[in-house]
Symmetry: C2
Subunit: 681 residues, 2 copies
């Protein structure tokens, strides 16, 4: 692999670009394509962010939204019960009245972007201590957001880009009445299960259809994507518009080493533990399995993703590329007097990271909540902090309690999401055991949490007796004064109160050091702007980005992996595995086989630059037509977290064509297929 | 729970007693039972140790041996292949000629015990350094064993009892031609899978029948157990004769704290990781699952056992009992001038443990082999060390290479056990990743192991190219001189050579500090002999012990758990779970239901004091008749690792009756049932 070439060449399909700074030059030079403002605006406003974590798009004028099944799974899980297992059995609303309202799903559509870097930086005076700078920055961001919300009525978030190199104000239209229209069986949406996750070739119908409502009526949506009749062809240029969650591409080499040697191993340790816990819990009965389903899937998915990232960090060839790129930039800095103030940025980041690293374990346990990991504790903590934060001015609050975010926070806090005592108890017992293990049983915080009991006995008591289970109780506690809260006898509230001072202290250290890093990174960003003449994109921030790429296969172990699979391939794979889980087919698909056109393309790969959070992103062609939907990356794509490569790394999508084929022939959902094809338009 | 009472009272069914020091007084006082020498000798010589880890007993004069299915699983796994899945399908030899020879199974029968404490201690002169004392002790033990082997032809092991308080020479008759006669489907042997493992009530036919051969003929066995026709009744006195593997009952409180806060969490971290690895590997296909089956079961079993032990250590009430017992003993020591030399024993143990703890991580990785964990590396290391150790006198060799052990070692080393490249590669990749994580990627040993490659690439190369896979190659390497070995170009041999110096250095530190602990523990043992007037038993050492107990149920969450289950209960449980795995029944059991007497007792519990290694132990009544076979302990029994309790802790057995019922009616194995019932005698 040629190092310097990959880092400086301009011909790769790299980048998660801002919609207000699209890669015009790249697209023009490599593909002779020039997106105009209307093209960009249409795609931007047809794109939808799922606040539960994921992406989607409008695909009809009546507010129909397509996303992945695994993005919708959170909603599906929350309104399933022992009698209605929508995850297993799927769902189809044959009429508008059957569409099922999601309990706590908020969707965001990006309406506009405003650069507020100047105002943010002006508020953070030169020479402030890191702590004061952090407070000043938090205050000005909360102020900008509050003003914008008041002025526009739109959800307003100041987004930190380039690790602090710039600040943009994003305004979102919010949808909070979102209804489920269609979901296939999880067995076909996630065909091949964990073994096939992050792999290719794939055979998955990983889709879910929702409808946005406003004032009790389907939302009328001007910007929705036209459904392509022809899908994709090999070597075609495609675009992905979605919300990549987080990347580490600007990390210094020292930070990557920390990721490789400390952070990632620790995260995997926790994930392995959670995976065993949830696998064991699920083994007890089909109802246990149903209750833990989505959580278990999430843990497995994170584990596999992180294993792949770690494998990349442990690959000396890939790591050498990062070292070479850093050296190149540092050499440029050293040779350019205008960049003198960037010189010590790398060392400052390493110093700050050392301080963060020294207490990372306690931070994860107490502020990260691993030591109390269960939904009931999260609720209790949010309640406790809400009461306390409300006593402060907006700009001084912990960021998630800023005024402009309260509506979203309350929606989640007062969700009627079902909670299962046996699952909560298993999780909390495990978490308290982990806490005692990590801190040592005799540690004062472990003792405070356990109150002289065993983790098992303490978890049982807490889960059995807390009233936090009741939404009405939560609303009551939410309204308490701080003095009243401290008198509250609920044991989970008391636990959250008891460990809050330690948790906040740890958070403060991290936030302060993050400020130090932010300032140093913003200087490195300045150097990069100079070195790369402005053609750079920021690390992912779970905000809307435009990626592009070519539809094409790759070579693996001397074998060509074709760019697409077909429905016929699905049936072949099931037969190869004698229909054993996770390679079995839902009964509908077994019965429906004769009706299907088996030559229909199913899944395809492209070189587009994506990462977790892009799940459900629409894939569109030059005409802006919907040709597919992102649902995965292959195993080689997991290194995209820290660098782009197109040798084998691929984004994996469902083609638009099998969606129509399955809706008509497997699910008898012709009217829905008609709506997607615009028959009602 | 009354602390002092439990530790000093003589009425509980506590103890894993030596056959040459049985609990005569206890049995007489509580049960009015006095075993005579013939009763003890018969039971001792009818008991069988499985060197693969487990217990069993002779049950016919023609050398028929009964053990657990999960003890036999190692042998079953080794002669299964893609076409013959004996684990899944079971096995029954309808004639002697169909009995299948196990690849590398060695059985031991204890023929005699000799106290050699005097000779061992005489060889370890007062005032020697710990390192010299360790060497002297190792040398005298190897000498005693070598002499005994030469004199008697019997396998001879000096067993360290009471953590070094005494030394007994055990002489075993060895059987190395052992053939499989019968195994049920794993699905009924391990009914309920991981969820039901270490739980009660249970419904498992966890048995396996082997036959010992001598000179190509079935062994003629004088001491074999008579099969009871009546099984057990509630409140009956029963005995368990088997090989408990390891307990920690004499550990000081400081050592228990180390177990709780360091050792056990670390072990669980490794096990969680292994469990996820093997679960993921198994998910890829039914053949993958078959290959990893026994390993996966072993990991799950260890994980659940250790979780249970840790839960016990994290229970302040149980821990307080250990603290109180230690305080009592230390008070006695303080008040008795004859015990003056015991006073500093506790501190010495803690000091030694600190040194061990400080390098435990590297020890586990390098000498414990976690950093290279796969069968091919184990073979390579054994080869490398065999060559080197052979250049030394017997008494100076690493203990496993002493002359008296070579035959057993070679049997394992040259086993034709099938090895699967994909499983080896998955394990080694994971192990090398773990090594890099735990040491840091840049650590010299990690670099030496990885040779500048990624763990994935390095593991793939090693597994693909090593010839250690071939038994013929192993035999060739085994015969090399040390100089020739160092020229060997096989990459796995080279890896084993490359890390051997570091591994041996770590082992030396541990062995030296273990010697310090051993000397201190032997002084504590002296104090305990004084305090408890000789009525004590040593911690478990995977040698033959006699336990006893009462057949009885217990109370759990306010509910009575009856002492036994029935075959009817099995079918009820399967129905409750809609036959979903792991609660599904094998087809034979579904078809055979009408033929069975469903009132037949199935599993039962007793208060006998057991631990891992007791699996397969015969349960006998006062008459010495076989009434059942140990296969598990309930979840509450897992604390027996560090203290005995009979409040809820129970040993779980298969009753003898359903074995006959199933052989006759489900497996059409009437002749085998007849042989068990002595029809041929």
């Amino acid at each position: 692999m040629v190092m310097a070439l990959v880092e400086t060449q301009t011909w790769s399909d790299e980048g998660m670009w801002l919609f207000n700074e699209p890669p015009r030059k790249l697209l023009k030079e490599k593909y002779d394509f020039e997106p105009d403002a209307a093209w960009l605006e249409h795609l931007q406003q047809a794109s939808v962010r799922f606040n539960s974590g994921g992406s989607g798009s409008f695909v009809s004028e009546d507010g129909l939204i397509i996303s992945n099944h695994h993005v919708g799974a959170d909603a599906l899980q929350k309104f399933s019960d022992q009698e209605h297992n929508y995850m297993r059995d799927g769902f189809y609303a044959r009429s508008r009245s059957e569409e099922k309202k999601c309990l706590d799903l908020e969707l965001n559509v990006l309406m506009g972007i405003e650069d507020v870097t100047g105002r943010v930086n002006a508020a953070v005076k030169e020479g402030l201590s890191a702590e004061a700078a952090f407070a000043a920055r938090r205050a000005v961001m909360a102020e900008i957001e509050k003003e914008s919300l008041a002025a526009t009525g739109l959800r307003s978030d100041v987004v930190t880009l380039h690790q602090g190199g710039s600040y943009h104000l994003y305004r979102f239209k919010k949808y909070t009445d979102v209804r489920l229209v269609f979901a296939p069986e999880q067995q076909i949406a996630f065909y091949g299960g964990d073994p096939d996750n992050f792999e290719y070739p794939r055979f998955d119908l990983d889709i879910c259809l929702f409808r946005a409502y406003e004032n009790g009526e389907p939302a009328k949506v001007k910007h929705h994507l036209k459904w392509s009749q022809k899908g994709v062809s090999e070597n075609e240029l495609v675009f992905v518009s979605g919300h990549p969650g987080r990347t580490s591409r600007q990390f210094t080499v020292a930070e990557l080493e920390y990721q490789r040697d400390v952070r990632m191993p620790y995260a995997l340790q926790w994930l392995h533990r959670q995976e065993v816990l949830l696998n064991v819990f699920s083994g007890r009965s089909t109802e246990h399995a149903r209750r833990a389903r989505e959580l278990y899937f999430g843990v497995q998915n994170s584990r596999k993703a992180r294993e792949g990232m770690l494998a990349g960090l442990l690959d000396p060839q890939l790591f050498a590329r990062k070292q070479a790129a850093e050296k190149r930039l540092r050499d440029i800095v050293a040779g350019n007097p205008d960049l003198r103030d960037c010189q010590n940025a790398w060392d400052q980041i390493q110093e700050a990271q050392k301080i963060i690293g020294a207490q990372a374990r306690e931070f994860n346990l107490l502020e990260g909540g691993q030591g109390f990991s269960c939904t009931l504790f999260s609720i209790a903590r949010t309640l406790v902090r809400s009461v306390e934060e409300r006593t402060k001015p907006g700009g001084e609050r912990l960021r998630e309690f800023r005024e402009s975010n309260l509506a979203s926070l309350e929606m989640e806090l007062f969700s009627e999401e079902p909670l299962y005592e046996n699952l909560e108890q298993a999780r909390l017992e495990d978490a308290l055991t982990w806490l005692a293990q990590q801190l040592g049983y005799a540690h004062p915080v472990a003792q405070k949490a356990l109150q002289g009991r065993s983790p098992r006995a303490r978890a049982s008591d807490l889960v059995r007796t807390t009233q936090v289970k009741e939404v009405a109780f939560r609303k009551k506690v939410y309204e308490l004064s701080l003095a009243e809260l401290k008198q509250c006898t609920d044991p989970m509230i008391q636990l959250a109160l008891a460990v809050d001072a330690e948790a906040r202290a740890l958070r403060k250290v991290v936030e302060t050091q993050d400020e130090v890093k932010k300032q140093a990174y913003s200087r490195i960003a300045k150097a990069r702007f100079t070195a790369d003449k402005g053609s750079i994109y920021p690390d992912a921030t779970f905000t809307l980005r435009l990626a592009f790429g070519t539809v094409k296969g790759y070579e693996e172990n001397g074998r060509e992996v074709p760019f697409q699979t077909t429905l016929a391939g699905l049936y072949e794979r099931a037969a190869e595995h004698q229909q054993q889980p996770p390679f079995n087919l839902p009964q509908r698909w077994i019965d429906g086989k004769p009706k299907l056109n088996l030559a229909t393309p199913f899944n395809f790969v492209s070189t587009a630059d994506i990462i977790g959070g892009n799940s459900g992103s629409p894939v569109v062609n030059r005409q802006g037509e919907f040709v597919g939907i992102i649902f995965d990356g292959n195993i080689q794509s997991l290194v995209l977290d820290f660098l782009y490569t197109d040798v084998q790394a691929r984004a994996v999508s469902v083609n638009c064509q099998p969606i129509i084929e399955a809706l008509r022939k497997i699910y008898e959902a012709g009217p829905l297929a008609d709506e997607l094809l615009g028959a009602r338009q």
